[in-house]
Symmetry: C2
Subunit: 472 residues, 2 copies
């Protein structure tokens, strides 16, 4: 069996908005072991919509339609679906009552056009929309079960989860020899930082020989996500397979995996680097303060993005100017003059200064040249010094990240956060490794990087650089 997704709306075909509904629908179907074979977008045009519906009814078992259920004249999904398959429109009294209740609750006036949203093709199975005015519906046409859903993402997601997926599962179970033929699918998402995608693939290749577990890779700079998907006859078996795969990956990659808990699905990860660091800090009863130059507040911003972070994040200084480094962090002015702001002594003094002034357990500091300008022959664009001060002493290293300004800042912040994490779990404080890339397609990852230590080993000066990461 296969699925088709049809999204409707002029704004999609004009490129005014990026259509993320298709990805979220497809991902959810895949977790029911249902592959999406076609995705189509059409204008709010009855002829084009009709064509798309008729063609989908011929070639697909499940047709997920999003958009065109609103109250305006442009919202034609219900009418066109009814007309395409020779059905009349019928008033659904409970939906009319629900729409009236909705407007009363949010204190908005219900206009005549909203009544339209209570009409459905005859024989339709109405799908509740508890958080919006447009109910959805389902009709069966030959081999195809159509589901018409609103285009507003949060309404769509809820209707998929609560109304559509149970119906999809029921039909799959009913039609396939009592459900026995259909496999149970489980997926989990593991976030990693520090290795490029091609290196991860190499490291994990032999683990993925089991035909029942498929390993997906996804990059969201500067992280790489691993997504094992397991299929089995029973839920117990699928759960066991996925647990085994996750354990093997964790064993192989060690601290490169930073997720504490496995996120279900492909697009949602429960753990972010900052939430993991925050959890570990809270668990250890430790606190942190930040001294940021090139990252300009990004590390502090990420810490404080996590609810409850006031428990372990005391604050920070964005010392963009040399005067601020001296006045707010106590970096000696002669040190700034002798070594320059982007130097090992200065970044160490920043980390130690902020730790001292905020009275925190950890002090993390960054100073670098994110570009596009500001480089010199000795200190090229991309050079960054990072330091972590704690009661174990101060660790500092330099990197040359050959990526654009925004990525340079994000990558530097991620290394800073990762060092705190590594320190708390007793792992080595390393930076992202030099990205290795094969001759195949672009396999982006943590961006090209070489650390000061690596450069020293190679006998190269600070200008030695990795290649820039690709992009997808």
């Amino acid at each position: 069996m296969n699925a088709e997704i049809i999204t409707i709306g002029d704004e999609l075909l004009r490129g005014e908005i990026v259509d993320s509904n298709k990805a979220r629908i497809a991902e959810r179907l895949l977790l029911h072991d249902l592959d999406t074979r076609h995705q189509v977008s059409v204008l709010d045009d009855p002829a084009d919509m009709r064509d798309a519906f008729v063609r989908a009814a011929e070639r697909s078992d499940f047709v997920l339609v999003s958009g065109g259920l609103g109250p305006t004249r442009d919202d034609l999904t219900t009418e066109v679906l009814a007309e395409a398959f020779g059905r009349k429109l019928e008033l659904h009294e409970p939906s009319l009552a629900a729409i009236e209740t909705f407007f009363a609750r949010v204190g908005r006036e219900m206009v005549e056009a909203n009544r339209k949203q209570a009409y459905f093709p005859e024989g339709a199975d109405v799908l509740e929309n508890p958080i919006g005015t447009a109910p959805g519906f389902s009709i069966r046409e030959g081999r195809a079960t159509f589901f018409a859903m609103p285009g507003v993402p949060r309404e769509l997601d809820r209707m998929m989860d609560e109304q559509v997926l149970p119906r999809v599962a029921a039909r799959l179970a009913a039609e396939e020899e009592g459900g026995a033929a259909r496999r149970v699918v489980r997926a989990q998402l593991l976030a990693t930082f520090g290795l490029g995608e091609s290196t991860l693939e190499e490291e994990l290749r032999d683990l993925m020989r089991d035909g029942d577990v498929e390993l997906g890779f996804r990059t969201a700079f500067p992280d790489n996500f691993l997504r094992p998907v397991a299929r089995a006859a029973t839920a117990t078996e699928a759960d066991a397979k996925i647990a085994e795969a996750v354990a093997a990956i964790r064993d192989r990659l060690g601290p490169v995996v930073y997720s504490r808990e496995e996120g279900i699905g492909a697009t949602e990860s429960k753990d972010t680097m900052e939430s993991v660091v925050g959890y570990l800090l809270a668990e250890a009863g430790k606190t942190v303060a930040t001294a940021e130059s090139c990252t300009g507040g990004l590390i502090a911003e990420r810490f404080t993005d996590v609810p409850g972070s006031s428990q372990y994040f005391l604050g920070g200084v964005v010392s963009y100017s040399n005067e601020a480094k001296a006045a707010m962090l106590g970096v000696p002015e002669e040190m700034l003059e002798t070594h320059g702001a982007v130097s090992e002594p200065v970044v160490r003094a920043m980390a130690e200064g902020v730790r001292d002034r905020f009275g925190s357990d950890f002090g993390i500091a960054t100073s670098g040249i994110s570009g596009p300008d500001g480089g010199t022959p000795d200190k090229p664009v991309g050079l960054v010094w990072i330091a972590l001060a704690s009661d174990a002493g101060t660790h500092a290293d330099s990197f040359v990240f050959q990526v654009d300004r925004s990525r340079h800042r994000r990558l530097t912040a991620q290394v800073g956060l990762d060092w705190i994490r590594r320190s708390l779990i007793g792992a080595e404080l390393v930076g992202p490794s030099l990205l290795r890339r094969g001759g195949g397609g672009s396999t982006p990852g943590a961006g090209g990087a070489s650390s000061g230590a690596e450069r020293a080993k190679a006998g190269a000066g600070p200008r030695a650089r990795g290649t820039a990461g690709g992009e997808r």
Copy 2:
């Protein structure tokens, strides 16, 4: 004439990535007055790809294909397009040389699979790819001109702009009576902050009576973007129409429009709030420092995201704890005890303290309860105090933003930046107005908000709240 976009890749149909290529292609075509009528995504499957190509050749004049040009076995676009239309594959020597040069330049080894990328269907017009290994190509089949392009966004964008759009324009001009029938299209993007979408529509309704100028709206929280699109017989006429529309909008909305320069197209704005504020600060020779509590470094991060910001951004303090507010900003401890951290006296002392310590012209401070926890009956979740200190004195106001934590922080940061902008252009320091919403679809905007001043007028306490903004 119409266009069709076909994107190819299993990862799209599994929902692993959100396909933004379609929107960027469609937007660029629209600026050539070419409407996209169909968007289709298919698996890396020869039969499905062939079906899509053959159907597109029947119904579309321009077919923009993205993906499937890489070196792997899954990359089948070239082979399937050739086979579908009975063409042989031919080696294109200049492309082979270009691919060899590319690998030599980036210092990677060229594998045999990359040679495949130098073969094209006979009769193809090869499209250069200066930043990747996969050249594109164009073939004409009956009414349809196919353009096959890589799926990597930045390679695709560049090929569209440099190779594809000129060919599209040439065909359009050649086939339509010497080009006279085709209208010239101009679009511009204006960023606004402070009014909801429905309010903007009301304010501008009478300006949009001219049938040759269409006004589009787009929301990217917390901003709203206006996009007038003008069509005319000549470029001069279209430019004049758009200039007139932009002037009328600016005249009507005043400082609510924050773009300095108009961005071309729907998805790219040259000016961000932080770049505009930075430009105005640099122009005036003024400097700024930040004292952030609830925004946690977000304002500093946005300032420093702009290249060259060290000219006017001196630095800041993220004073998340009360101790930091006292030690780093000089907020009196008894003031913190008496009034609490989220209070007018404290936020004023923060703004004045940071201005004093950094020696800046402006000091901007935030202190609020972004949630989800931490509210009290007197100080509910959503309450925020913002202060701007300058040589004109210190302005402070409070708001209750009934949005989630992330939006609360983003909205607060935007008000802070906007106040600096308004101060520099001599406009009133106001916050986002209460969002007004009609009975139609969701019209999101700056989020529900009520300022302290508004609440005082209404005789309501600090718990008076607007409704939360919608989402699309």
